[in-house]
């Protein structure tokens, strides 16, 4: 087994970790009231405003940004592995590469499904609203 497929396989696993971090980031609250800068504020004001609804723009975009980015990272992993399989495909090498890539395929599939409903009415709505003819002040 030559060094290159080993490296690609290891790097592919590393990209899986990147996807994991992005997933973690996606789940972080984006509401300003939850931000660390405002810790003191929250203590000072017991009657803090309600946190933002994650469905509200722009918070709604955070999820999509991270999902699309993760999807792209998985795509990079799959392209890397596919190209590497063309270059090195002895049985052991192929097995290692396919093993490293398969979680990415799974992740990509799940994210693709996740994206579809989000692309639906909500996103459309926002756009249409933006394009409405508007009257002046």
């Amino acid at each position: 087994m030559s060094a290159e497929p080993v490296f690609v396989a290891v790097y592919t696993v590393l990209l899986l970790a990147v996807v994991g971090v992005l997933e973690f980031q996606r789940r972080q609250p984006t509401s300003a009231w939850d931000a660390r800068v405002f810790t003191g504020y929250r203590r000072a004001v017991p009657d803090a405003p309600r946190p933002a609804d994650p469905a509200d723009w722009p918070h709604s975009e955070v999820g999509r940004f991270h999902v699309v980015l993760s999807l792209f990272i998985s795509a990079i992993a799959l392209v890397l592995v596919a190209a590497e399989l063309v270059r090195h495909h002895r049985p052991l090498e192929s097995a290692a590469l396919v093993a490293a890539a398969s979680p990415h395929a799974l992740v990509a599939y799940r994210y693709l499904r996740h994206l579809r409903p989000h692309r639906g009415p909500h996103g459309q709505d926002a756009r249409r609203q933006d394009q409405q003819p508007q009257e002046g002040p």
Binding site: A32, V37, I76, Q134
Partner: protein, 794 residues
């Protein structure tokens, strides 16, 4: 740091009083002043402790190898021929060609070892003698003479032949144009320059057990290894980072930093873009943004040509590209344009914002001045780029450094162009001053209009520092001043201008209260200055500076990560305020995509500047890593990710007003947004990160010189990784840059004709505040933070 002592309504001497607590201003001034004081001391130490250039280098048998003038002339030849955009010295420069310091050191040590019996095992006699030759500092300060061993002299002769072959090859194929440097005198001087830098890299400083470059590069033949300082300050800087982050974390919990006492209950009506009348100067920014997008396109195309050389040095799909556009020229243009197009956008947004800040007031001839500025800027950009080509080809004779290329990476442009660029930015600051002067006269210097103007003023001021680096400066001092521009100007003052501008945009849109924005700006100044000013030294660990630069640079630049940890939420905090769920605007928010680009800035600030930057920041990592693909990874993700996205975001913001409503479509910014972000992510994760990691491994495995050699870069694995980024680059250029160019074209083609009349009443241009009826009674007593608690709409 309470803010309760300031009230917005107070005025002193006709000026609106400071809107923020005095503590903030004092802290900002103090932190910045201390930073610059230390920086000044480090500048002095640079001149005291840089590696000396001997008057002459002779062998112990009395033969003169080269003189100090040869070394200085060699540096000029190095810069004149654009070799710093091909390879590097002390790790700084371009990454296709060799690091000439490490390359010379390795090759000459190999030669000396061979002459002594060709045995590289660490216990052998040949090895001991080689190490002795290179590490013993036989420079006599009194006579100005440096003595080399006859074997080192012999190596010098051999390497003169080697560099003659590498740099003057008739067929090229190494990244330079064919027959690039053929003059034997030039080759001799260049070899002398490389030889001098290699000497400084291995010879021990007087009284110290490490070399002038803190033992960089890693080279086993001369026992160059990381110094104790390198290891120690790596560990200490990590501890500093943890303490700094922890301290700030505790502080955030203790104080109500932003001084809010209640939530904001204004109801806004955003003015529809079609209803906003632009001033004549604002309308000229359409051309600025078009020029910006055009420069951006050229920059990315040159980037792909540059990248092509890394993937395939031999040919460009059969076209003899290297004849006219060799690697060192495309890379020069690529790095210069990266600065130019971003700055163009910054200048434009400044001109666009000034009338908004002045509530629609604009002095006469402002548009004319702006047009002249753009014209002059275009002349400087085109002139400097062509000059670089002419300079490298030797067409300018003795004027090469004036009109051609001074050659220091990022400050490549000729001196005349450099002065003109500084002057242009100064004129821009003047234009802003004209536009703002009425407003400035009525404001405390600590308030936003002044901060905006001062931040703008810092742009020409700190770019001008680059004038201190000339082709005649010694390498170490030139590098010091160069990084005042590359680090302090870009990473700190552009960052400051960015923060002020973005904050002001939100204030002008009415979604953020002025005092909140001010608090964020001051927090930003304090945090970025605390780490960033002295942190400039993190670029100078190994460029001939003494160990204190390494120690302070490592420690303070680690602190630079702290604001990135905390302030990336700032973008989102603004957005939260912008979302105003419970006080909805009756008209939609018009800047969805501009805000998306700003959010992308936050993301890349964290990933590109924070993560990828810190990855290579520790001295011990930098020692092996400097000049490898991981530096390029950080550079691209941070420069494009932060400043590139920001420049595009500014353009999208202004274009929303420049393009008439019925011509505007969200399709173009959406396509551009996703393509730029994903293309950049692809560039980073498909090629730069894995390629850089592999190259770093190679440094550890086979030494620095080997990992930076053309042989390694042309190896199958690296070539494979270089090619794999092609799809991402296509997405970036076709899907990202072209739609942007199209949008900016629409901004000129259909530029809104409705201009604001000069005598129109002053007003907030972008929104109208609607005070709800039940709050109206309290509005007068409410301070600027918003209405008292209890009035919140639930």
């Amino acid at each position: 740091m309470g803010t309760s002592d300031a009230t917005a309504q107070d005025t002193t001497g006709g000026r609106r009083a400071r809107m923020i607590g005095r503590g903030w201003v004092q802290a900002a001034v103090l932190v910045t002043a201390v930073g610059f004081l230390v920086l000044g001391l480090l500048a002095v130490r640079t001149y005291q402790a840089e590696p000396p250039i001997p008057d002459r280098v002779v062998t112990s048998t009395g033969r003169t190898l080269f003189t100090g003038d040869d070394v200085r002339e060699g540096q000029r030849a190095f810069l004149r021929n654009g070799l710093m955009e091909y390879g590097s010295i002390f790790g700084h420069g371009a990454y296709l060609g060799p690091d000439f310091t490490a390359d010379y050191l390795h090759r000459s040590a190999e030669s000396v070892n061979k002459q002594y019996g060709d045995d590289t095992s660490s216990s052998s006699d040949a090895h001991t003698r080689t190490v002795e030759d290179f590490r013993t500092n036989r420079y006599d300060e009194r006579t100005g003479t440096l003595v080399w061993s006859p074997a080192q002299g012999e190596a010098f002769e051999q390497l003169t032949g080697h560099y003659a072959d590498l740099l003057g090859r008739p067929e090229g194929k190494q990244g330079l144009r064919p027959n690039a440097i053929t003059d034997p005198a030039d080759i001799h001087d260049l070899t002398a320059y490389f030889g001098w830098s290699a000497w400084a890299a291995a010879a021990e400083r007087p009284g110290k057990s490490y070399s002038y470059t803190n033992n960089w590069p890693s080279e086993s033949l001369v026992e160059n290894e990381p110094t104790g300082h390198t290891v120690l300050w790596s560990v200490l800087s990590l501890i500093f980072l943890l303490v700094g982050a922890g301290g700030l974390f505790a502080a955030f919990g203790r104080w109500n930093f932003l001084g809010w006492h209640g939530s904001d209950q204004r109801t806004l009506r955003f003015h529809a873009p079609g209803a906003v009348r632009l001033t004549p100067a604002q309308r000229t920014t359409g051309w600025f943004f078009f020029v910006m997008a055009a420069l951006f396109l050229v920059q990315t195309l040159l980037g792909s040509a540059t990248q092509h050389y890394r993937a395939d040095l031999g040919s460009f799909f059969g076209i003899p590209l290297d004849e006219w556009l060799p690697y060192n020229l495309t890379r020069t243009w690529h790095t210069q344009l990266a600065i130019f197009w971003v700055v163009t956008s910054f200048l434009a947004i400044g001109i666009f914002l000034a009338p908004l800040i002045s509530r629609g007031w604009e002095p006469a001839k402002q548009a004319l001045l702006s047009r002249l500025l753009l014209g002059a800027l275009t002349v400087v950009v085109v002139g400097s780029l062509l000059g670089e080509m002419a300079g490298m080809r030797g067409w300018l004779g003795g004027l090469w450094s004036w009109f051609g290329n001074q050659g220091w990476e990022y400050l490549d442009l000729g001196r005349v162009w450099q002065v003109l660029l500084v002057a242009g930015m100064a004129v821009w600051a003047l234009i802003l001053f004209r536009g703002l002067r009425r407003r400035l006269a009525t404001e405390s210097v600590a308030n936003m209009p002044w901060l905006f103007f001062l931040a703008a003023l810092a742009l020409p001021a700190f770019y001008a520092v680059g004038l201190l680096a000339t082709p005649n400066s010694t390498y170490t001092t030139a590098d010091f001043w160069r990084f005042i521009v590359v680090h302090l100007w870009v990473e700190d003052f552009l960052e400051l201008f960015t923060t002020v501008t973005v904050a002001y945009l939100f204030v002008l849109l009415g979604v953020v209260r002025e005092r909140v924005a001010l608090a964020v700006i001051y927090l930003d100044i304090v945090l970025y200055s605390a780490g960033g000013v002295i942190g400039t030294m993190h670029h100078l660990y190994f460029s001939g500076e003494p160990a204190e630069h390494l120690a302070l640079g490592a420690t303070f630049s680690a602190l630079e990560v702290v604001p990135l940890l905390f302030l990336t939420v700032e973008a989102w905090s603004f957005l939260q305020l912008g979302a105003r769920r419970h006080s909805p605007s009756s008209t939609p928010f018009p800047h969805r995509w501009a805000v998306m680009f700003l959010a992308a800035v936050g993301f890349w600030n964290f990933l590109g500047a924070g993560v990828f930057g810190f990855l290579i920041n520790l001295p011990i990592v930098s020692y092996y890593e400097i000049g490898t693909g991981l530096t390029a990874n950080h550079a691209h993700a941070a420069m494009m990710g932060v400043y590139g996205m920001l420049a595009v975001g500014f353009a999208v913001f202004a274009l929303r007003y420049l393009i008439p409503e019925h011509r505007w479509s969200d399709r173009w910014p959406r396509l551009s947004f996703w393509s730029l972000n994903l293309g950049l992510a692809w560039m980073s994760f498909a090629t730069l990160l894995p390629g850089g990691a592999l190259q770093l491994y190679k440094v550890l495995d086979a030494g620095y010189a080997d990992a930076r050699s053309l042989g390694y870069l042309r190896g199958p694995t690296n070539t494979f990784l270089e090619w794999i980024r092609l799809p991402g680059d296509v997405v970036f250029i076709v899907g990202g840059v072209l739609p942007l160019l199209w949008m900016t074209w629409l901004g000129i083609r259909h530029r809104t004709t409705a201009a604001r009349l000069p005598d129109a009443p002053e007003q907030e241009l972008l929104f109208t505040e609607v005070v709800p009826a039940d709050v109206e009674g309290h509005a007068a007593e409410a301070d600027d933070d918003g209405v008292p608690a209890g009035q919140e709409e639930r």
